[in-house]
Amino acid sequence: MFKRHRSLASERKRELISPGATRSTLKNDMRNFHSLSQFILAAGPLRSIPAVKHAKTTHFEIEILDAQTRKQICIVDKVTQKSTIQDVKQKFHKACPKWCPSRVGLQLERGGPFLKDYRTIQSIAVSSIITLYFTDLGQQVSWTTVFLAEYTGPLLIYLLFYLRIPYIYDMKESSRRLRHPVVHLACFCHCIHYLRYLLETLFVHKVSSGHTPLKNLIKSCAFYWGFTSWMAYYINHPRYTPPSFGNKQITISAINFLICEAGNHFINVVLANPNHTGSNACFPSPNYNPFTWMFFLVSCPNYTYEIGSWISFTVMTQTLPVGIFTLLITIQMSLWAQKKHKIYLKKFSSYMRRKSAMIPFIL
């Protein structure tokens, strides 16, 4: 043990001292041989040296502490250099079965960022014993589940209102009045919209195997389902008033709706198949399809087309609740678009000329 201390010390003197450690701390550390792990933890950035001198592969030991109480939960050993955080989480799950890998949040230091699953141990290791802090991220659901729940709900709920399930509307009134064709058209458009979303979630989107806390699922489902019920109630009401400008208004907005739906679909297809050519990797660019030419004007045309669809739907049905829903999702999507736009600007500044985030020339 003593020999190893000496070699480590000399190694350390050769290396740069990390900003945290000072000369005096180093001296003290060398003097106190309390425990080997303490000494190594206090060290600055060392080149990772083999734990056992004659072994060919480096094995790491990862000590997992609770982020709040700093108590040790368990030690994951025999972790190779090439393993990732994901492997560590799975080994941790085997050791402590109640924490599934998706619930586990590991940080290098308390309050630091959570380490992504794809990072390798090699990139974060400073010594052969690593300390990670564990936080329970709570009950998680996969993004696919969230999307499926979010989109199936409105599809079914709107149909319930359209088919006039008893007790929603006054029975005498409902049976008496003939329904204006725009009501049927609205149902058709609404169903197309959500069917397209569902099919894209299942077949087009390459949703990462990421997870999200359960309460996000509850929040988004409540929002979508609630607003769909509110909208569907008015559109399918016996006392529904058709649009003021009659068929002209309806046909123009219906055509617009279909154009925006098609546009949204093609953009999603392009986003799902990014071109990985060199420095242009993962930056979506327009191709021969005219719908994708929106990429010349904005960085997030999928949001643009979606807002277009909903505005057409509002104009087509001339219903205020639909307008309120459109306004709310526009606000939410503009926030997301701004974030993405900033990321693109940072990464691909040479390609981003004269572009807005979501609405051409305005936002």
Binding site: Y234, H237, R239, Y240, T241, T317, Q318, T319, P321
Partner: protein
């Protein structure tokens, strides 16, 4: 609820000791605090608000002495009440620009519920203004606000008398239920008049296919007090234990 929410206000205006939501009486040492100009403005704001609510309190007392009974006192303090309660909207602005370390959402919620009661219920439904329940919540609000604004003023000037801190964290035990009862009774009294006049309600059919029933809205609002009131109340009791016992510990060490 509006009364309690204001008493329970999470982080309070400006720096200073003991605050509700953040929970620690020592929180002021960690955070930065507003700059000198912002502090001066906040002190002026809080002093003006304290003075305003004192005017309302004095007005109530004078009206009571003049009339000899406590009925229909609302009319004598109607204008200052509307002015100073609406002035509390500035607090949302303070949170938004960051000179007060409170959450914008929570403060908006508190202030808007107060303003709603003043304008959309008491002002709009004139028949309700002579009810006794109005006096109940006005008194609760007046006492709460005088203590709260003076608490903030002294905190900003770093000279908080223990009496004010004690008052803020103790009187709510009585004032909160009093204010909530006043508010609920007032809304309940307003219901038949809203139904009769069809106040603020739109019905189908109309050009924009929208309907709103103010009567149902008020009922839903009253029901929402049921989950929110106990949460805020017990939160305040918890804060009280923390803040007042913390101060006692400090006193022991001095």
């Amino acid at each position: 609820m509006a009364a309690a929410a204001a008493t329970a206000s999470t982080k309070g205006n400006g720096g200073g000791g003991g605050r509700a939501g953040a929970g620690e009486a020592s929180g002021s040492r960690k955070k930065k605090g507003p700059g000198p100009l912002a502090t001066a403005y906040l002190v002026i704001y809080n002093v003006v608000m304290t003075a305003g609510w004192l005017v309302i309190a004095v007005g109530l007392v004078r009206a009571y002495l003049a009339k000899g009974s406590y009925h229909s006192l609302y009319y004598s303090i109607e204008k200052p009440l509307k002015f100073f309660q609406t002035g509390a909207l500035l607090e949302i602005l303070h949170c938004a620009i960051g000179i007060v370390p409170s959450s914008v959402v929570l403060t908006s919620f508190q202030v808007m519920s107060r303003v709603f009661l003043i304008w959309a219920v008491t002002h709009s439904v004139k028949e309700v203004q002579s009810e006794d329940s109005v006096l109940l919540f006005v008194v609760a609000w007046t006492i709460t606000e005088i203590i709260r604004y003076s608490f903030y003023t002294f905190s900003l000037l770093n000279h908080l008398p223990y009496l004010i801190k004690w008052a803020r964290y103790t009187l709510f035990i009585v004032l909160y239920p009093m204010g909530v009862s006043g508010e609920l009774l007032t809304v309940y009294a307003a219901l038949p008049f809203v139904r009769q006049a069809g106040l603020y309600s739109i019905s189908l059919p109309n050009k924009y296919n929208f309907s709103f029933d103010y009567y149902t809205f008020l009922i839903l609002m009253m029901i929402s007090y049921i989950p929110i009131f106990p949460q805020l109340y017990f939160h305040m009791i918890h804060q009280r234990r923390k803040v007042l016992s913390h101060t006692e510990e400090h006193k022991k060490f001095e």
